[in-house]
Amino acid sequence: QKEVEQDPGPLSVPEGAIVSLNCTYSNSAFQYFMWYRQYSRKGPELLMYTYSSGNKEDGRFTAQVDKSSKYISLFIRDSQPSDSATYLCAKGRTDSWGKLQFGAGTQVVVTP
């Protein structure tokens, strides 16, 4: 079993809709969580990170962590065609900083 599981999609939504992305993870110790966005033929770029359960907002993006269910989510409000990309969730451990484990990524397509 992979430590981070993510539905590969693709997920197609109309412009202006809310995009909802989810990951589940195993192994609970010393976790922190990240969401990356990866455009085609480019390297991933960090969108958000969080260490604790609850919600964290940054503009149109909200990251949600539920440690009791081992579930992490990313919501994108008012989606734009420029949000079309692959979204990767990742987790790390505070006892081995920098060693990230990524999900497979969910491809999102926002149609005008």
Binding site: V4, Q6, P8, R41, K42, G43, P44, E45, L46, Y49, L88, A90, S96, W97, G98, K99, L100, Q101, F102, G103, A104, G105
Partner: protein, 113 residues
């Protein structure tokens, strides 16, 4: 804006040949990472450097892969001999230190024929 540089961007080689990838991290970044991303999968860490020292290479196939960061700045990842299953995107990332955000380069797309 500072970026992680990688070259070449694309590499096509035949199996059993040697290939090498180069990475120049953002200036001042002490930590450097090499990842492999197979199509349709997330990046997988191959090796992590802190300055010139290897911190983690547990997922590096050491029979054919090698990585070095001799002066603690730029880095080279080598595969010898290349196998068909090595076809993937090889990503380099750097961070100020191990606890900081990782910035990724554009990657080198390797195709082994």
């Amino acid at each position: 804006e500072a970026e992680v540089a990688q070259s070449p961007r694309y590499k096509i080689t035949e199996k059993s040949q040697a290939v090498a990838f180069w990475c120049d991290p953002i200036s001042g970044h002490a930590t450097l990472y090499w990842y492999r991303q197979i199509l349709g999968q997330g990046p997988e860490l191959l090796v992590q450097f802190q300055d010139e020292s290897v911190v983690d290479d547990s997922q590096l196939p050491k029979d054919r892969f090698s990585a070095e960061r001799l002066k603690g700045v730029d880095s080279t990842l080598k595969i010898q001999p290349a196998e068909l299953g090595d076809s993937a995107m090889y990503l380099c990332a750097s961070s100020l230190n191990q606890r900081n955000e990782q910035f990724f380069g554009p990657g080198t797309r390797l195709t082994v024929l």
